[in-house]
Amino acid sequence: MDALVFLISGVLMTASALLVVTRKNPVYSAILLVVFFLLTSLNFLVLRSPFLAVIQVLVYGGAIMVLFVFVLMLLNLTEEELDEKVEPGRKLLAGAGSVLLFVLLAWAINSSDRIQAAGETDLTGPVKESVARAGETREIGKALFSEHILPFEFTSILIFIAIIGAIYLTKTRRADHRRTAEPAVKQPEESA
């Protein structure tokens, strides 16, 4: 049953991911990305991580996607701007590179004995208990606020800094206004 769900959602994930990176219009990409996130969340459930599945939907499907869409709206790129004009050679190279990467990764996965041997070990007693409950919210909370409190706090500081940075970067300054008002945009070529 698990395997079946996983496989179906896996195929869909791959497909949606491919569509995300290939759609010309970023709005489609964004919508497909939401689909991808939801499918991922499903797979998290299959892998016995219910808490993460929820978080995945909330953070990725909610917060991050809203950000993306919001920015898309803000920019409101025109048709011409959306035209990427990527040379086919570049696409080919990128494709070849990523396929090569996938092949290598697959080879690595395939050739690793430990990965092949990993599976349901026969667990007994309290260990089995704790493993079974590892994905539960309570366990995660316990671990997060005891054993992993330091990284957790660091992460919060990091996010805090990121917020400040984001605000600072997006704050419109007068100089920017003036510059944007100028018709002649300074060409990147010149500044190079």
Binding site: A3, F6, S29, L77, L93, V127, E139, L144
Partner: protein, 112 residues
């Protein structure tokens, strides 16, 4: 047929590689950022899979201590991904205001 670790990992590798392709082939910075999110998701999925299957009699092999380590890992990655998306998009906005372009090829100041 049962679900196994290598199967999960193949999926992760596929998602990751697709993300890489996106990063390399696209010009639109927003899409590139989306591709980055794809890559991160691939990694997250891998971590979860390892946490699920790499179990020794003492507990999860990922950290050697609590069984929830992989979950914590992913949570932190998630938080960082959120931060990254926020900062990245903010930079994108600033860049767009400056140069009226969201094309990554137009940014070529990064050289000596």
């Amino acid at each position: 047929m049962t679900l196994s670790l290598d199967l999960c990992l193949y999926l992760c590798a596929a998602v990751f590689s697709i993300g890489v392709y996106g990063v390399l082939s696209r010009q639109n910075i927003i899409v590139i950022l989306m591709s980055l999110e794809l890559m991160l998701n691939g990694v997250n999925l891998a971590i979860i899979s390892f946490g699920r299957y790499f179990i020794t009699p003492e507990g999860s092999a990922l950290s050697g201590t609590g069984a929830s380590s992989s979950q914590i890992f992913v949570i932190i990655v998630l938080a960082i991904a959120a931060a990254e998306a926020a900062v990245g998009l903010a930079i994108l906005l600033a860049v767009y205001r400056r140069w009226r372009s969201a094309r990554v090829s137009d940014m070529r100041l990064l050289k000596g």
